[in-house]
């Protein structure tokens, strides 16, 4: 269980995460959505203390996350960083083995684990294990990033847009695999995404962040989520609709800012399905 109590992060005078409180039940998936810059990554990184909060407490299974040294805490929490962050000078196998090596697992166990994860993510261990990250495609790199986060079988997994670079088919597969892993090991997962479909599909609960505040935290089926703001584009937000419903998209710029020369509309990450069958709102 993860209990976030009144967490605030300020950089100088700007409040990036503003008094957020939420509880993530054990063995569930909480999905965080929200505009770019709304503080999702910052919130995530305060859980494994890559960022120290200005105020508030985070408890993992009842224990304050400051009760152990930061590096020890982080070895026990899987973290798939936004944009994979693979070590360019280490092979795929070495990348995946990072945390097990730090934890001092023996060689055989590490090798077995690396092979298992690579097979799970459809990367042949013989062919891809000795390669370097720059010899992989973006989607493959991202899968290696997720495998690295999973390697030490952590109880808690933080995932920052882990499937963003995957094509729809592999993405669906990766989502199913993650759900299977989560069921099997009872992992508690916090996942950040920009894809509403993914949020609804994966999340036991969905948290919506806006300008540092947690504005909604509910089950996907609960009215709060299925009506406003997802069913129709709210004022100042952009979205798209297709025959079977609407999805609100969040702009790259803060909600209040109009797209300008500085934040051209092309910088917005539209969900892939919007372009094809969707009608776009501004």
């Amino acid at each position: 269980m993860i209990e976030i109590e009144g967490i605030t992060k300020r950089y100088d005078t700007t409040t990036v995460v503003d008094d957020v409180s939420m509880v993530i039940e054990p063995r569930t998936i909480a999905v965080i959505v929200g505009t770019s810059g709304s503080g999702k990554t910052t919130l995530l990184r305060m859980i494994n203390r890559l960022v120290e909060p200005t105020a508030g407490i985070i408890k993992l299974d009842g224990a304050d996350n400051r009760s152990v040294p930061g590096y020890e805490l982080r070895r026990s929490i899987g973290y798939a960083i936004q944009g994979h962050g693979l070590f360019p000078h280490r092979t795929v196998a070495q990348n995946i083995a990072t945390v097990p090596v730090l934890l001092g697992w023996d060689k055989d166990r590490i090798n077995a684990r690396v092979d298992e994860l690579m097979t799970l993510y459809q990367l042949d261990p013989q062919a891809y294990g000795p390669r370097y990250p720059h010899e992989l495609s973006g989607g493959q790199q991202q899968r290696v990033g997720v495998a690295r986060a999973l390697a030490a079988e952590p109880n808690v997994l933080l995932m920052d847009e882990p499937f963003g670079a995957l094509d729809p088919i592999i993405r669906t597969k990766a989502q199913e695999d993650l759900l299977a892993i989560q069921k099997r090991f009872g992992t508690t997962i916090i996942l950040v995404t920009h894809d509403m479909e993914e949020a609804v599909h994966m999340g036991d609960k969905i948290a919506v962040m806006d300008a540092g505040k947690l504005v909604q935290y509910a089950r996907p089926a609960e009215p709060a989520i299925s009506s406003r703001p997802w069913s129709a584009p709210a004022k100042g937000r952009s979205g798209c609709c297709r025959s079977d419903g609407c999805v609100t998209r969040w702009r790259t710029a803060p909600p209040r800012a109009k797209p300008s020369a500085a934040t051209p509309a092309s910088a917005t990450h539209w969900p892939s399905y919007c372009g094809r069958a969707g009608r776009r709102y501004r």
Binding site: R74, L86, H89, R148
Partner: protein
């Protein structure tokens, strides 16, 4: 140009250098026209090979010391605890560079006496800046995402430094070392003015006795060494860069 041509030229240079150092007599006819009044053609106050080895040893010692100090200093000032010393260490190292080498020698002689020591001090001071600057550049321009991933995986500060930051900066640090070695090879020749045993001895002997052949052979050996070492270190640098994945070739 064919790919094997540079390799062939380098090989030829190595063969020529080794031949000249081991059997300088073979080249006497070539250099003969440069001398007058039956002056000796090949340096005769010591073995060229020994001088070359001593020259290289001086540069090596100074570079190793400069590397250790400069890299340690750069690591120190890029840690959160040492950040406030960054401007100070920058200016200290810059002072080392703005001092003319002759002045360093002149100041060092009264303190440590004649011989190799003042030369080592001058080369050491001269070697610091390129290595320090490059190490700083390397350590401060690492991809933030990768360093954060290392933190996120639970590496301690030391583990991050040794397993991620230094390996990824290695190509840039090597570039700094290469620069300081080449500067050192040239600067070491003036060490002979304070009685250090380097190839400068040959050049100075030539200047004193107006013997062009001496000047030329001293200068050419230093130049050949510089070219070969520069090339070799560049190759190591390229190899490291590829191994560190910084070039997606």
């Amino acid at each position: 140009m064919k790919a094997w041509l540079p390799a062939l030229l380098r090989l030829a240079l190595v063969v020529l250098l080794v031949a000249f150092l081991t059997n300088p007599g073979w080249f006497e006819p070539l250099l003969k026209p440069l001398t007058e009044n039956n002056a000796p053609v090949i340096y005769n106050q010591g073995s060229l090979l020994t001088l070359t080895v001593l020259h290289l040893r001086t540069v090596l010692l100074a570079t190793v010391a400069a590397t250790i100090v400069a890299v340690a200093l750069a690591i120190l000032v890029t840690r959160p605890a040492g950040a406030e010393f960054l401007p100070l260490s920058r200016s200290l190292v810059n002072i080392g560079q703005t001092f003319p080498p002759v002045a360093v020698l002149a100041l060092a002689v009264p303190a440590v006496g004649f011989g190799e020591k003042p030369t080592l001090i001058a080369l050491f001071l001269y070697g610091l800046l390129p290595i320090f600057e490059n190490t700083l550049t390397g350590l401060t321009t690492l991809p933030a995402n990768v360093v954060e991933a290392a933190r996120g995986a639970g590496m301690t500060g030391w583990q991050r430094l040794l397993k991620v930051e230094l390996p990824l900066s290695a190509p840039i640090i090597l570039g700094g070392i290469r620069l300081s070695v080449v500067i050192g090879l040239a600067t070491a020749t003036i060490g002979s003015t304070v009685a250090a045993k380097t190839l400068g001895e040959v050049i100075i002997a030539g200047l004193l006795s107006n013997n062009l052949a001496f000047i030329l052979q001293g200068g050419l050996i230093v130049a050949a060494l510089a070219v070969l070492i520069y090339d070799g270190l560049s190759a190591i640098e390229r190899y490291t860069a590829r191994r560190m994945g910084s070039e997606a070739e």
